[in-house]
């Protein structure tokens, strides 16, 4: 599903140049649930941004579902993001003046889906995350865990190839974190490829594979025995 070869990325700040990714090689097969770990500054967020086409690599190859991702202009990047990717953020990033349902249907709006079908599909995903009865509430009326579940529903709405989650549990307490992880595991069980950036060990061990980053290089990449979140709830 994802193939990455010799990926480099530097940031330039004035005269200083910061080499963040120093040659990443990494493949993800369909249906995997991978966590990317590392201390801050290890380059894990940069890697996720490049995977999410929010940023572009200086050097190297990135192939997503057999489509080479390079020389993107804004238009194509927007199209690919909409088609291939679903984002889950640490701070949820819901649009605060829109109801849960409207938030979930937004990717479908940009995909050009008609209103009626959009609402139906958005409602379906809200049901899936267990928030059907909250569909007309604003994000401010929801708890942190509920907000993240709305965000997950939104990420799923356009039926993307890959879900990218940046510290999805970073803003949640342990119990809620496990609930969210349970949901993510459930989605993975249905076959969706999911990448999670985290620095929490317990969260990482709820995935099937842990990739450890340090100073812009992968120092460890191993499969782990998945711990079901449901065991903790």
């Amino acid at each position: 599903m994802i193939q990455i070869k010799d990926l480099h990325k530097s940031y330039h700040m004035g005269s200083n140049s910061l080499h963040v990714l120093k040659g990443i090689n990494f493949n993800v097969k369909e249906g995997e649930l991978v966590s990317i770990m590392g201390s801050s500054g290890s380059g894990k967020s940069t890697l996720l941004n490049i995977l999410g086409m929010l940023d572009e690599a200086d050097q190297g190859q990135y192939i997503l579902d057999d489509v080479p991702i390079k020389n993107l202009n804004e238009k194509i990047a927007a199209k690919y993001r909409n088609e291939f990717l679903g984002f889950i953020f640490q701070s949820f990033n819901l649009i605060n003046y829109k109801s849960a349902l409207d938030n979930v249907s937004m990717p479908l709006y940009y995909k050009g889906v008609k209103r009626k079908e959009r609402t139906e599909r958005a409602m379906h995903y809200l049901e899936k995350v267990g928030l059907a009865q909250w569909s007309h509430h604003l994000p401010s009326e929801l708890s942190g865990g509920q907000k993240q579940r709305v965000a997950i529903a939104r990420a799923l709405a356009s039926d993307p190839k890959v879900l990218l989650a940046d510290e999805p549990t970073g803003a949640l307490d342990t119990k809620t974190s496990y609930e969210v992880m349970e949901l993510i595991q459930g989605i993975n069980d249905e076959g969706k490829t999911i990448l999670i950036v985290t620095h929490e060990d317990d969260i990482a061990h709820m995935t099937k594979r842990i990739v450890n980053l340090k100073d812009g290089l992968i120092i460890d990449d191993s499969s782990v025995e998945q711990i079901r979140a449901s065991a903790h709830v």
Partner: protein, 414 residues
């Protein structure tokens, strides 16, 4: 543009920020409002001044005489220059080709006129048939003085509408006899004049009759001509100036008046004055447009400013939208449409308010120099186009900024 979703979104954001929307709208609305009022009044002033000129033909040249102030060729100052029939004929002969209408008048100010028991004091004016066109007098009923009245010195009178109302109290005055200083005159016509009451409070009688009954002999008080108009206004003004100068010179020669004696012979050229006033009005209009446009620009800059703030405020939201697959064009469209909508809506509001005020207050203005202040449809329409254009400009820079927002920057957690 016609995407319902997008409209819903715009209304949603606007209604989330009612005060901000209101203040932005207010600045645009007041700009347009002021422009409309200014334009309306400049039109009103133009109308008012034009109607001042409509009292008489605009291409009129009139000749009046007074008392000499300078000695000339052995004659003492202080002598009254008396125009005669012969002075008129001399001018008529010399400029016949250039003249359109001509008249010579002999008038009595404050002539006692009565019909049965009603009496009034009016200006009684002996005149020639062509004076009807020089004075812009409109015949309401009957006829004006004609040449047969002149040649046989008939005792007929054409009265102004005001006199008809004063003396006849709704009766039909045609063929009735009025007395002027006790002498019977038959009313043959009633006239209206754009000059209003002042001009309509006159009685016209044949010049020859006036000269006889008032013992004026060959004397006349003044004469007036209109010049044939060339198609080109500037050329017409030039010709009419040349003729006015020529007439003045000729009259001074005939009556032995010093060429530089200003008060003895006065030749008044309406066309020249009209030209000055019209150019004044044109300048005034220009100034009004300038001020109005300036006000609108201030309003539009306000909208642009607010839109920039909105974009700044919504940076994160725009980033989210882009991460979800929003095209740059859809972001530009969203911001631009909001700006255009705010300027359009508030601008139209200001336009309607301004037009409404003119419609309401306009007819109540009682001033000689402001008449029917109004804005014509074309101007109203062009301000609307101006608005759409302005809204686009006001929205474009903020929209462009919005499109440039990188989702990665917008979404970075603080």
């Amino acid at each position: 543009m016609f995407d319902i979703e997008r409209w819903q979104e715009i209304f949603e954001t606007l209604s989330k920020n009612k005060l901000r929307t209101f203040l932005t709208g207010l600045s645009v609305a007041s700009g347009i409002f002021i422009l409309v009022i200014l334009l309306g009044f400049s039109e009103g002033i133009a109308n008012g001044v034009k109607s001042q000129f409509e009292q008489d033909a605009t291409n009129k040249i009139s000749v009046w005489t007074g008392v000499t102030t300078k000695g000339y060729k052995g004659l003492n100052p202080g002598r009254y220059v008396q125009l005669k029939n012969s002075s008129f004929e001399a001018i008529e002969n010399q400029y016949d080709d250039y003249l359109e209408y001509r008249t010579k008048d002999y008038m009595i100010y404050g002539g006692t006129v009565n019909y049965q028991n009603e009496t009034g004091n009016y200006r009684v004016r002996g005149t020639m048939p062509e004076n009807q066109f020089i004075e812009n007098a409109d015949i309401g009923s009957g006829r004006f003085i004609n040449s047969s009245d002149i040649s046989s010195s008939k005792k007929v009178a054409v009265i102004g509408n005001k006199i008809k109302e004063d003396l006849f109290k709704g009766e039909d005055p045609i063929d009735k006899n009025i007395q002027i200083f006790g002498m019977n005159f038959k009313v043959v016509g009633v006239f209206y004049d754009p000059g209003g009451d002042r001009e309509e409070g006159q009685v016209y009688v044949p010049l020859t009759t006036a000269q006889k009954v008032f013992n004026a002999g060959e004397n006349i008080r003044n004469m007036a001509f209109t010049v044939k108009m060339a198609d080109d206004f500037d050329e017409a003004v030039q010709t009419s100036n040349a003729i006015a100068l020529g007439i003045e010179k000729k009259i001074k020669e005939l009556h032995t008046v010093a060429p530089d004696d200003i008060s003895a012979v006065r030749v008044n050229n309406t066309l020249e004055q009209a030209e000055k006033i019209y150019s004044l009005i044109a300048t005034l209009k220009l100034v009004f447009w300038f001020v109005g446009i300036g006000t609108i620009i201030a309003g539009i800059v306000g909208v642009g400013n607010i839109m920039l703030i909105i974009v700044k405020e919504r940076t994160k939201e725009i980033g989210i939208r882009k991460a979800l697959g929003a095209l740059p064009s859809s972001i530009i469209g969203m911001i631009l449409q909001e700006a255009i909508f705010v300027t359009m809506f508030s601008g139209l509001f200001g336009l309607i308010l301004g037009l409404g005020l003119l419609e309401l207050v306009g007819p109540q203005i009682q001033n000689d120099f402001i008449k029917y202040p109004q804005v014509d449809f074309k101007i109203a329409l062009s301000t609307v186009f101006l608005l759409v254009f302005a809204g686009t400009i006001a929205g474009f820079i903020p929209a462009y900024r919005a499109a440039k927002i990188k989702p990665i920057d917008a979404l970075r957690d603080e």
